[in-house]
Symmetry: C2
Subunit: 314 residues, 2 copies
């Protein structure tokens, strides 16, 4: 399977660390040191998860690698839904105007990039689809409490869209070599480390240390696993594209793997944690940097917990 | 693929029509005539979507057709999540104690039964799984407003669990002959007929008429489609197992297909609309009625919109 195109949408409104220093008394320097985040983007009043999704699709539609009428599968990913019924995948279907195809949205929290691609791989394997759209969007600021000193400053909003085909459509397509996904809902503080309970306690990171430790552990391990089972070593890896949770997690994983920091791509400095869209936005932003044949490992970890890796050859 | 076992959990607390007559002034008789619902079940204060899920699993665990350690895939379905991060699928993983397997939850609203089975079919086709668990739960009363005269009286809570294998494990297994799923997010009032927007307007059925009309249209059509493409006619159908949205929808679809009403299975009279779990609970409740070789069409329609059908040979 091949990734033909990625597009993205980032809201215009910038929230800097001075905002949180004023609001909750955490210093700009402390926030930067703890998280790597200088600023993050916040959706406007008239934007929501479905609108972010449509704007990401709009940004890619003019250069779409296949006509919308040939789309035969749409998968959405979010843990911050605008609507759990008319989900972001259904909003995408509505926007693209394509009828009678499988459409659904998923959540494995910040791991949804890998799970969504694996579901597409399944539809391709069954012969039930050939040309898929994946949309990933998180509207974290709709649920987070910015006065929460523990996690309120981490979150940003963003969305991306992927056009994916079973057959190669262009020489510039990226090949998806392999996918690993794993739930880890049975380990550590998976059920309460970070949660979003819309009808109950809301959105909270109440055990960041457990999340941090398991993110470092699983992201390192799954990166090695996916390289090894495809006959590669870390030396073959051109770029490591991690979930954008915290710059310290990215640096910790890169260091534990012995990867130089310039191989690890990051946007958390200026976008914050954009949820399941973060690593995909990083792919979008860095696409001109990638050379033909470059090997990319997109590695994710989500609250709950979940992990995964997608191995890509540009 | 084969359904080896189904289990279910229904909360104990019964809410009758007299409750709504007292609360909002809609007469018991009017409620029964409009919806077919006499009573519905409501989760207790200490139950939520994840707890309902675990109780449904618990009810099946003693007679499980394969040991939990051989489970290699868990898919959850809900549009009324307790936690969008530690989802019901992750709660199931936690309860079952099985590590490092694909785990994710989906929403296509009340259609998730069909979409979840199709995702499992994809994992089986890829050779990435052989023994899967599907859990479906909706905690509608956590989100619905019981003083809403339009839809507050429709909803009940419930959960079910399915054990599914690629190979036949027992003569009593049911074979899944075919699955059709379709999003219809681009038709009618799909984006606003019924919605659940946790951080915005909440849960509301604001255009029940459009939902009703499209449910009748799509459920009839997809039932005929799945029979026809597998070489069957309506005469071959032993039971029609529809999404439990409204008894008038079920009767309308059965009538338009020319099916006798005793072929259409219903539990909405005493459970209300239990969301994506409803049709699966009906399978669970009626399993002793089904004879070897019986042909079942489970047909779903969800807000958003989505539809689907699963053809089963007992």
């Amino acid at each position: 399977m091949y990734i033909n195109q990625i597009s993205a949408y980032i809201p215009e409104n910038i929230i800097d660390n001075a905002h949180f220093e004023k609001l909750v008394g955490l210093s700009e320097e402390w926030l930067l040191n703890r998280t790597g985040i200088r600023e993050r983007r916040k959706a406007s009043e008239d934007e929501n998860t479905n609108i972010l999704t449509i704007k990401a699709l709009e940004n890619g539609l003019k250069t779409a690698p296949f006509p919308s009428e040939s789309i035969d599968l749409i998968i959405g990913g979010t843990y911050t839904p605008y609507d759990t019924i008319h989900t972001l995948a259904h909003a995408a279907q509505n926007f693209l105007g394509v009828s009678d195809i499988p459409v659904l949205s998923i959540s494995s929290a910040c791991s949804s990039f890998a799970n969504a691609i694996e579901i597409v791989q399944g539809y391709f394997a069954m012969g039930k689809a050939k040309r898929a759209i994946i949309v990933l969007a998180d509207h974290n600021t709709a649920y987070s409490d910015e006065t929460d000193k523990v996690g309120g400053h981490l979150w940003g909003d963003g969305a991306c869209a992927l056009w994916i085909s079973q057959e190669r459509l262009s020489e510039s397509d990226w090949e998806v070599k392999d996918i690993i996904t794993g739930g880890a809902g049975n380990i550590g503080k998976a059920s309460e480390g970070v949660f979003l309970r819309p009808a109950h306690e809301g959105f909270m990171m109440q055990n960041g240390r457990d999340v941090f430790q398991n993110a470092c552990l699983y992201m390192g391990k799954v990166t090695l696993d996916i390289l090894e089972r495809n006959g590669y070593t870390l030396d073959n890896l051109s770029y490591f594209v991690p979930h954008q949770a915290n710059l310290r997690i990215t640096k910790n994983v890169a260091q534990s793997l012995g990867l130089s920091e310039d191989k690890a791509l990051s946007n958390i400095q200026y976008l914050g944690n954009t949820g399941c869209a973060g690593c995909c936005i990083a792919l979008y932003e860095n696409q001109d940097k990638f050379k033909k044949g470059d090997l990319l490992a997109v590695t994710v970890f989500g609250g709950g917990y979940s992990y995964g890796a997608v191995l890509i050859v540009c």
